[in-house]
Symmetry: D2
Subunit: 381 residues, 4 copies
């Protein structure tokens, strides 16, 4: 019985890995261990831990590691704090393999803790390219990991080109797609009751925009100016809009401030701001939106599967594989506005399995149950 | 005037980078900032900081980060502690570029702190392969670094194959070779007065062995058995021997214990144990030894330059480039003994510039003064 | 020339110690070293560091130590982080004496770091009693400190009764009073321009309330209900009101949430919310208010000096010495409302020098320049 | 069923609390939780954790917190690390009360973590006076603690004089005495087989000295000179001697170095050095020794109960209550030598119950099961 310890450090992490968590828990040869920490514990970022528990997963440990400041210094220090906490927890849980997800800054602490402690490390979503600091984190984690679960064929090839042994690379697709395949994606207006937020109640049976724009960590000083362009474009488009608050990266306080200042000044009466949704509700909101606007990877990934018309702003997703559903624009209110118009007019795209076919979680669990777990890896050249 | 911050976390780090430190300090367009920490501060590991100061370098900051335990858990936690401390220091020193050396476990904290804080990171000695956990650290640091100073042509090619932009890769040679080129390598018996240690005073004008054997971090549970084989081989060879205590990795306490137990039991009267030498004295000791025994990378690297006959034991240097001066053996007292005999008989080898021509420090400083320092890097495929 | 290192970890700390900072800096036999950290660095809590720099003090070091969560677990951990950071800084600054202020949870890290490093510790504002967790912190710091600067005669006597040597106890008064004595306390409406905040612009020449209510750390689960009572009382009183956001203690997110919910629901058009004022502006706002409402110690301390009518709510100030200007009430909207009415009707009280005569900063600097600094202290019984 | 969490951070802590651990575990209304950390985990300090487990206690959590350096800076930082680790563990164990022991520097992290998390804190051995830095720690912990278990009547009175509520103070005696009362104190020579150590095997049926000398933390720069005086006195007395290595405080490396240098130089053939004993064996060794020499508190405490002739050197025990069995001397080889002679001649003293009657552990458990556990405490004046 292999003990698989999954470390979830943000709400995005959880959305990405949820179906794999379930498949691991339900696998006869696996035992699930769950560590929840960082922004996944914070009310300010939507208390992912509450959603996780409501979904039936009880954390074996919790780690508070986010040092306030939301700047590059505290990003680094928070990661250091993670790396102080996780070894104590791994020593107590004694997992046979640790599973880490994607590329957020603090996830490298999971990778280092496991690797240094001679615990095999599995990594979901390696090999992708996006053009941000996340690239460095993601590829560094790849060089530490012992088992790779890339989402796309191209990502898998990149991992092998980086010198990883091909036998350790398993193209499983992204487990985030599984949720889309399983869930009824019809939307209802209870959303407003369930999640609160601020702003008017919208009629989601009518066309609406979904906006999700995060700070770009190596451009964080421009975060305020960048969000302003999007705010003005959306304000001018005048379609009912669901807007999600940004994540915890350096710069997020500037984005939040920008949004708050805009609200005070323009008091837009057709935009509703939410902190967070469950994974399923987020899928519903995206699936029924007339257009997704911002720079979230989900509109390229889940968006491909759902065929959601997307306006992708700025450099955050540079280099990430994308399907036909995406139009790219710069930080410019006019360009953003024009792209939104085009996408709303075009409507829904064909579903594209680029990032997974909806069966990835099960696949990951099966491989974890049977693959060789060997910490001595060799570069292939 | 670019501020170059060099972070030195062990005596080995310092030996490796010393000539570059000098070249940076003396360069008209560079300002040297020096952070010294981890085992480089500890008496137990030879107080490298004292040597550093005697060499005329005054640390701008010191960080105590080694958590006691000498096991994989504390290795990970110590690295986390480094990652908590360094951002505070970088925020205060505001370097234009951070220089990190090689691949010891705690050095990844330097790499992450700099990268997350958007400070360009230069890395000396990337691209090598050794077969130990250090490989993962070294390659992960490569994926974080913005400027690469590999020692050998082959290492440089590997870095490029890993997806790094070729314009960021500069094959400079290893600055550790510079010391060898500059120093008078004649030996005298003052060594015993200067460094103390325990055991008899040896006549270094006559043939002697040099033994340096570190723990292998992912085999650390066997460290005691492994060192015993070497101890018996050396004991049977009966040639005067200089033996260096191991470094601070997981397992070093077992090696130390093994040595102490052996001493208590056999009381060998021809072995002298030292804690540490200055970089120059270490070169002298190696240059004049009849044979170097153990698993230190220096016998492959400096050993090539000096033509020092070497018996390399076990897996620690697997995959590392080597010249004609090395015979590889397993953890077996008979094999070790036989190889020592052969090497002592063979005597000195030709000098081989595989790892550098003795001018690397200057080269590194010149590049740091002029190269583009851009934190936005892209994978090349 | 004695080096005096003052550690300021919150905006309240700074307000309390400002005049002493100036007196130390200007003293011919003293050199001021300043460390700023914790919530004093955070925009969310009013970026005290910006005010400090505008006042002409340049921090020698900054430490980010607040771990997000705002609960008892993260309060403890943040203190631990302070205790990891400060020794590195003290080792670099090498102060002859460290000065710590009052009793906030994270200040004990300053006290421990200094004491353990054999650096004499001076403590401003020991010996008081308030009935909250702060009592334990304050008295524990007293038992660590080597020089005591209590504000009141009674506090000084308590310190001596706790076993401290009388020769180490100097009743100096609270330096916070100095600001009141020196500053022109006339108010103008530029406040709204200078500090922004949210809500209507008020006419401060007419009567207004000042509300400052912090969470009570060992009742933090009731913070939401407690703030609601105050909100309703103030809402019913219908006098223009200046309201300050709470500090960073456990429970502050609940208070913030309560305020936000109230605003969304009732949209009060006569309350203006501010994040923070400079020390001087805060004194002006208090001095001109018709009544101070809440649980801030400043309304008992500065309030006594200014004769400001005060309604003190709940247990947070239990046991603190108070003058005639204070009416105490429980967490009950009706009682609060009645007390506000009475105080507004009563108007200004006589000035009371209970907490200082306005010359404390100078007194503290003089003593620090001349007193014996001996870390070997003995309990007197 | 109350959950009592005991935090053991050194071998001395464990010896002191062992009988209480057993009584808590066996109490029908209590559940024992055990956290072991700091030097109690380190081989170098005798791996107390191994003894603890052999005694049948399985730790619920382990924390590595000792940062290498053995100087005041790392003492402070190690305490900070403890304060980072313990809240995570308390959050997971959810104890109803935390029990902390005595006064070593790192124990204040236990006290702060519990107090800040609103967990009632019980403290064993408060109220004593010794004249060292430990005094400050001990009294600061008293001001944080909610339940006090002093060893002596005088200590209990001091706690009350410091302002603690009398109802919270229970004079239980020191549970370390319980071991003495229960154990057969006959000695045998198997000691040398069981504990190894270095030096000759001694005949313990004949008179021997026991030496235990720790560094004095605020005199740690003189540690080397101080130990030298003792070494010479013992060397001159020429009686077979059992010598214990010092604990982990600042200065211990200097003492260790002093001992090693002395050994190399004089090669005394009648001194055997041990790292550590079980609590019982330590009692046996003390009980049968002709004289205890050094500065350990055990020779004043356990020594009183056993009537062991004691020569107490220097300032470390200043102010500690003592019985008739103790002669105090300064750091002077002649004075030490003379005192040893007098004590050996005098022989065994009467047993004195000053520090406990041998039933303290049970008493502590009974009180913990029934006392009010209220975190809101008030100073009594």
């Amino acid at each position: 019985m292999r003990k698989v310890c999954v470390v979830v450090l943000s709400r995005a992490n959880y959305g990405r890995i949820k179906s794999a968590l379930r498949a691991i828990r339900d696998h006869p040869d696996l035992e699930l261990q769950l560590v929840v920490g960082a922004s996944a514990l914070l009310e300010k970022y939507g208390s992912a831990v509450d959603i996780i528990r409501k979904d039936g997963f009880e954390p074996d440990a919790r780690i508070h590691i986010i040092i306030e400041g939301e700047n590059p210094t505290t990003m680094a220090k928070s990661t250091g704090l993670g790396l102080l906490e996780l070894p104590t927890i791994f020593e107590s849980l004694r997992p046979d393999v640790v599973l880490t997800v994607a590329d957020r800054f603090e996830t490298i602490s999971t990778a280092i803790a496991a690797t240094y402690m001679n615990i095999p490390l599995a990594h979901v979503q390696g090999g992708e390219i996006t053009g941000s600091i996340d690239d460095s984190v993601r590829h560094a984690v790849t060089k530490l990991a012992h088992v790779h679960f890339p989402a796309t064929k191209l990502s898998g090839e990149r991992i092998i080109r980086m010198g990883e042994e091909p036998g350790r690379v398993h193209v499983t697709g992204d487990p985030a797609m599984d949720i889309l395949a399983e869930t009824s994606l019809e939307i209802d207006n209870d959303l407003f009751k369930r999640y609160g937020g601020v702003g008017p109640t919208l009629n989601l049976k009518k066309p609406y925009l979904l906006v999700v724009q995060h700070p770009v960590t190596n451009e964080y000083e421009n975060a305020l100016a960048q969000i302003n362009e999007t705010l003005h474009a959306v304000y001018d488009f005048k379609m009912p809009t669901i807007w999600l608050w940004p994540n915890v990266d350096a710069g997020s306080d500037r984005i939040s401030k920008g949004i708050r200042m805009f609200r005070e000044k323009y008091g837009p009466d057709f935009i509703h701001f939410f902190k967070n949704f469950s994974v399923e509700d987020y899928a519903r909101v995206m699936n029924n939106s007339a257009c997704v606007v911002g720079n979230t990877s989900s509109s390229l990934r889940e968006g491909a599967f759902l065929g959601a018309p997307t306006v992708n702003i700025g450099s955050r997703q540079n280099g990430r594989e994308r399907g036909a559903n995406v139009i790219d624009v710069g930080y410019d209110r006019n360009a953003i506005l024009a792209a939104i118009s085009r996408q709303v007019e075009h409507g829904r795209y064909e579903s594209d399995h680029l990032y997974g076919d909806g069966k990835s979680g099960k696949r990951i669990a099966d491989i974890l149950a049977t693959c060789e777990l060997n910490v001595k890896k060799r570069m292939t050249y």
